[in-house]
């Protein structure tokens, strides 16, 4: 699932055409607390890293800058108040220019050159990093102003974000192509046949994965070792030991 986080309503409206079965847009509200809350609400406490192994966070929004113009991929996020830096992994060739971003608590009216300024990214990164790896957190920022927010209107933000939607779509296609969740095969039927204890289950999983990596049919090895005739846990242990012996003596 791709989760797009945007801070203000007119950004969300401009991005609405991106919504699909595997992409949601979440309105965070302005500022770090709102942003962290929105991420926390999205990835509630029941999720583990494994559950979210193919989920992606994209923070899309407008930002300020003294001298930069356009759409940027953020390669460094500094939390201005905390003095902490965060680094999303840039592992895809996107063709987008990159820039560092500083997340501030109040609008920066005198931005330094060479930097982008926003009010949410560090919180999204920090909250997201509890469950999502740094290569699956992407920060796209488009410059709307140079700190003089009085000139920014809903209409101008909407138009700015909409103008970059085709480029954002390209990037999302690239992200979708790169998502390859690890498949975890269940060996439940073998556990039952072998009357497996918790530690035996670990051994069975290990042997099945090793057999597969050696290009062998692990299930067939267990069948040949007598898995279907097991009547007790001790018998299951013997079968597991036989399979281990076969797999470790393939010379």
């Amino acid at each position: 699932m791709i989760h797009v986080f945007a801070a203000i309503d007119c950004e969300v409206k401009a991005l609405r055409h991106l919504v699909s079965d595997d992409l949601e847009i979440v309105l965070t509200g302005i500022g770090k607390v709102n942003a962290a809350f929105a991420v926390g609400r999205t990835f509630h406490s029941g999720f583990t890293r494994q559950d979210l192994a193919s989920d992606v966070i994209i923070n899309i929004g407008t930002c300020g800058s003294d001298d930069l113009h356009g759409l940027f991929l953020v390669n460094k996020i500094t939390d201005d108040a905390a003095g902490k830096d965060y680094y999303p992994d840039i592992l895809r060739v996107t063709g987008l220019p990159e820039a560092p971003l500083i997340t501030v608590d109040k609008v920066k009216t005198d931005p330094e050159p060479g930097c982008l300024y926003d009010m949410e990214a560090s919180a999204i990164y920090l909250a997201g990093s509890k469950l999502i790896s740094p290569d699956r957190m992407i920060f796209l920022k488009m410059v709307s102003d140079n700190g003089d927010v009085g000139r920014v209107t809903e209409a101008s933000v909407n138009a700015l974000v909409e103008s970059y939607v085709p480029k954002i779509k390209e990037l999302i296609t690239m992200i979708r192509d790169g998502i390859s969740p690890l498949s975890v095969k269940s060996n439940e039927d073998l556990y039952d046949l072998l009357k497996a204890s918790a530690s035996m289950k670990v051994q069975i999983d290990e042997l099945m994965r090793f057999a597969e990596s050696m290009g062998m049919d692990g299930r067939k090895l267990f069948d040949e070792a007598g898995a279907s005739e097991v009547t007790s846990r001790a018998g299951g242990k013997e079968v597991t030991a036989r399979v281990r012996s076969v797999l470790t003596h393939l010379s």
């Binding site: 592992l91 060739v93 560092p100 990093s129 740094p134 290569d135 090793f210 470790t248």
Partner: protein
């Protein structure tokens, strides 16, 4: 091979070192990101080292803590006394499935420490206490990095002027220059092509490594051959028998200083990360025995693997050159 790095993360305090300037010039196409401390990037939680493998980043940093460490007890010390390793760089431009670095670091990015003089000073302090045996290519492959970093030359130059230092430079790479100082040992890890193709990604072929060994021998350099780690694969007896025959035919072992033999072994703490990094690799999915905190092959498998190499080399008259980790 000269690795290209998409990004260079640069510690502010590393900016003025000559090695930094040289590397930034060499990789002028890389995007440079300024950082406070290398750990902010290198030690990020839950990095996808598999994905990073296809797009490694380089981190340039200053090491302000200990630089030279006591070697691990599972490393062969070749009968030398004070055995240390230097952390000149962290991680490798190669990507071997079974490498302990994958288990230890949880990232594929490479750190090069640029304060080379500080390392040499620390080594000089160790030398004041007596002769030192130093493995300088331990947390990395300095030979492979030699196309990038000047570290290998730095250590070679230092060893040339410090005869009490025995320097080991271990590599799977094809190094193109050698010194013939008696205290500089070029240690080449050799594996059958079947193992190289499956598990030692981005490394040179066996033929290329053998050619490099012969080049070092021709230059009268001290050469060590490392048949370590021996890896369990299908038909390993046939495969390693052919391999050792090839070595005997292609390399004049009378001119090799010594030969180490060992089977794959890894700290139990590192195996989960290794399996995460290489989830389909039989090299790390093997159902290992656990012994004293290490994952090892069962004793009979270890004995058979080592026996193949040991017996052939003994038969050929090189038994006195062997160092074996049982």
């Amino acid at each position: 091979m000269c690795a290209a790095f998409s990004h260079i993360y640069l510690e502010s305090r590393a900016e003025d070192y000559p090695e930094t300037k040289r590397l930034l010039e060499k990789f002028s196409d890389s995007t440079v990101v300024s950082i406070r401390h290398y750990k902010d990037v290198f030690n990020r939680p839950a990095q996808d080292s598999r994905l990073q493998n296809g797009s490694k980043s380089l981190i340039l940093a200053v090491n302000d803590r200990k630089k030279i460490f006591d070697a691990s007890p599972v490393c062969q010390d070749f009968g030398m006394g004070k055995f240390y390793y230097a952390e000149s760089a962290m991680n490798c431009v190669f990507s071997c499935d079974y490498c302990f670095l994958k288990g230890m670091y949880g990232t594929s990015n490479v750190v090069i420490f640029v304060n080379q003089e500080d390392y040499l000073k620390e080594c000089e302090e160790k030398l004041k206490e007596g002769p030192v045996y130093l493995c300088a290519s331990f947390d990395t492959d300095l030979g492979a990095l030699s196309k990038v970093s000047g570290w290998m030359n730095v250590w070679e130059g230092f060893a040339s002027t410090h005869p009490d230092l025995t320097l080991e430079l271990r590599t799977k790479s094809v190094v193109d220059s050698f010194r013939n100082d008696p205290n500089i040992i070029y240690a080449f890890t050799l594996s059958p092509d079947e193992v190289i193709d499956q598990f030692e990604k981005m490394t040179p072929s066996l033929d290329a490594r053998i050619a490099c060994v012969n080049q070092a021998i021709a230059k009268d350099a001290q050469v060590r051959l490392c048949f370590d780690p021996l890896i369990y694969i299908k038909n390993f007896e046939l495969c390693y028998n052919r391999f050792v025959d090839k070595i005997l035919q292609s390399i004049d072992l009378t001119r090799v200083r010594d030969i180490s033999i060992g089977t794959f072994r890894i700290s139990s703490d590192y195996l989960p990360n290794l399996r995460k990094a290489c989830p389909d690799s039989s090299a790390v999915l093997f159902p290992f025995d656990r012994e004293d905190g290490f994952c090892v092959y069962p004793a009979d498998v270890r004995s058979r693997l080592i026996g193949i190499i040991k017996n052939e080399l003994e038969k050929a008259g090189y038994g006195n050159k062997l160092y074996i980790i049982p």
